[in-house]
């Protein structure tokens, strides 16, 4: 039987990171020693790109991705932007307060395909969050045959998020930034991070980013506003990538996260269960009907 019941978690800490956004640290409570291994929620098997349902008491539940999966002490991290009722209530909570979490849910990034391949990542705004654990994993491989390029798009400098993570990654991987609203001449667009930054959407920098690969990327991972992902995916297929090598992580309203409530439908599939990661090929087939 499905388990609809959250585990209690403690709000351990948070740091502000970007406009109305915070990086939260939570801790699973009431787990006896070793219980995490045989728990109804499979907290030790979190795959990059999977998500959990955060339950803010007396307010409701919403899906969020892990930026760090639960460790042996049950601590995990999530990047959360204040948007609706659930996140607004969360932002009013204090360290030590008790909430709920259930998960992990869904199909994450295709790690097996990505390993040791040339990978292009295009993320927009908060869309970088579901990619954090994956980029961490790939960029720190000691025998890194990987060639990883990240394009990070944001509306303006204030909405660029996960700054500490990006600062850390740029030592290992190539990063490009795009900003819809480019700073005026008095400001330097890349004063905090010495990263190539251009005005416009990711499409503006895609040719340059692609040219940094010695041969065309074998995989592309996209996460951000759906319009952005669709235009990048179309560009990449025209560039010559096959549609089954391009993966998109979708955002949808969800209540159950187990394929029952119906809210996250795309045709006969549910994003919570079959996604949130889909190949461009799968998505085009789903949307064709």
């Amino acid at each position: 039987m499905l388990n609809h019941i959250p585990d209690s978690i403690e709000l351990v800490d948070y740091i502000d990171d970007g406009e109305q956004a915070r990086h939260y640290r939570f801790r699973l409570l009431n787990l006896k020693k070793d219980q995490i291994k045989n728990h109804p929620h499979n907290w030790q098997q979190v795959q990059p790109g999977q998500f959990f349902m955060l339950n803010v008491p007396s307010v409701g539940e919403a899906p969020f991705t892990f930026t760090e999966p639960p460790n042996e002490q049950g601590e995990f991290k999530a990047f959360i932007r204040q948007m609706g009722q659930v996140t607004s209530a969360l932002f009013n909570m204090q360290r030590g307060d008790i909430l709920g979490a259930r998960g992990p849910f869904g199909r994450g990034w295709p790690v097996d395909i990505i390993n040791n391949n040339k990978t292009l990542i295009v993320a927009g705004g908060c869309g970088l969050a579901p990619l954090v654990t994956l980029i961490d994993k790939l960029s720190e491989k000691p025998d890194n045959k990987q060639q990883l390029v990240l394009i990070y798009a944001a509306r303006n400098k204030a909405t660029q998020m996960l700054t500490p993570e990006r600062a850390h990654w740029q030592k290992q991987i190539k990063i490009f930034n795009t900003l819809d609203e480019y700073p005026h001449t008095s400001e330097d667009a890349s004063d905090e991070l010495p990263v190539t930054t251009v005005q416009g959407s990711p499409l503006a920098i895609l040719p340059k980013a692609l040219s940094t690969f010695t041969s065309p990327p074998t995989t592309a991972l996209l996460c951000g506003p759906e319009v952005m992902m669709n235009s990048v995916a179309s560009y990449l297929t025209e560039y010559g990538m096959t549609s089954d090598a391009i993966f998109l992580a979708l955002e949808r309203r969800m209540h159950c996260a187990v394929g029952l409530c119906g809210h996250c439908y795309i045709n006969h599939q549910y994003v919570c269960k079959s996604g949130p990661t889909f190949s461009w090929q799968e998505l085009m087939q789903l949307k064709a009907n």
């Binding site: 409701g60 309203r253 159950c256 409530c261 809210h263 006969h268 009907n289």
Partner: protein, 352 residues
């Protein structure tokens, strides 16, 4: 499977009412039919009403998938499951369309503890329909008029001489009949039953437009303009999704209590509501009413759902036609679909 002949349903009803909370379709004072619990035989002998063939206004889905129910409670520290604990109950006289829907939802909710807690307590007594009902088209979608094998624990079939054929389909059904004086009868009654059901099928009005409409829905030829125009008549009232025996979308909400305690409920939702897919950011993949109306019909007739359910989502009860205040129930939509000329997106259709 065992078959019996009985002269009087009263004995059967009273027998079952001893072990089960007894529910049957009754007609109320204003002529509407609905499911109702009959007073318990444990307290006094009850004279049960005869079975009626009128289709109840609502299907039996709320017996298993409650219109609203508590999912959990939070005591400030822990979250606890609040599973329903119904006593054993019998639904006496469920028609084939609604049984097909229960079979469909059994698959969809197979791992849902709340649905299953109710479902496992239920004894299903099915009733063969022997004449077509208003708006019904169950034969067209392979959902009737006879009860399908395995869809009920016991099947009742009325014979011309006021006798009833009683077919015990499952072990649960056979056990429920234990203690009742019954004599097995000849298998040829099953042939007679088949003939009656076949004759009933032939009495349904011609509905080729439905078969054609289903083909068209799966052809990918329907313009978004068609759905947009159809949706002008959709009031977003959720009448269709509420009465549809296979619709099962739900939302969740919390009910605050004192001291940071709360309960979380789930409740019937509708894909036809504007906010059904709207996210906190106000991004809405189905912001257009036409998209939502298309979704409803695609969910009922799309071939892509066959893999999971081995059938379409529509069971031919016709309740959407009966209830839709905008006159875009099954029959109206299918007729307009088949009348629509082959047109692609953006082009005018002549039927709006």
């Amino acid at each position: 499977m065992k078959i019996y002949l009985i002269d009087d349903l009263q004995h059967l009803q009273q027998h079952l009412a001893q072990s089960y909370q007894f529910h049957q379709v009754v007609t109320n004072s204003d002529g509407q039919c609905h499911w109702q619990q009959i007073a318990s035989a444990a307290t006094k002998p009850v004279v049960h009403e005869p079975l009626i063939y009128e289709k109840p206004q609502s299907s039996a889905k709320s017996f298993f998938f409650a219109e609203q129910e508590s999912v959990l409670i939070f005591n400030g520290e822990y979250f606890q499951e609040t599973l329903p604990t119904p006593k054993p109950f019998v639904l006496f006289g469920v028609q084939s369309c609604d049984l097909t829907a229960i079979h469909y939802q059994d698959k969809f909710f197979k791992d849902d503890p709340y649905y299953q807690a109710r479902r496992q307590q239920c004894l299903l007594v099915g009733l063969d329909c022997i004449s077509p009902c208003e708006h019904g088209f169950c034969p067209t979608v392979n959902a009737g008029p006879g009860v399908k094998d395995g869809y009920a624990d016991i099947i009742l079939h009325s014979l011309v001489n006021k006798q009833w054929l009683l077919i015990a389909q499952t072990i649960k059904g056979s056990k429920a009949l234990q203690g009742l004086a019954l004599t097995e009868t000849h298998w040829h009654y099953l042939t007679q039953r088949d003939l009656v059901l076949h004759q009933c099928e032939n009495e349904f009005p011609d509905d080729k437009y439905i078969t054609d409409g289903i083909k068209k829905i799966n052809s990918g030829e329907i313009s978004s303009e068609f759905w947009r125009k159809l949706a002008i008549q959709c009031l977003g009232c959720s009448g269709c999704t509420t009465l549809c025996p296979t619709c099962s979308c739900y939302g969740t909400r919390t009910i605050k209590q004192d001291n940071n305690h709360f309960s979380q409920q789930r409740f019937w939702d509708s894909c036809l509501y504007e906010g059904f897919q709207r996210e906190a950011s106000f991004n809405n993949p189905s912001a257009e009413a036409g998209t939502r109306v298309q979704r409803f019909w695609q969910h009922k007739f799309g071939n892509e759902f066959f893999t999971e359910f081995s059938r379409h989502g529509c069971v031919g009860c016709g309740r959407c036609e009966q209830t839709c205040p905008g006159v875009i129930g099954i029959h109206s939509v299918m007729k307009r679909l088949t009348e629509e000329k082959e047109q692609k997106n953006g082009q005018e259709d002549t039927n709006a």
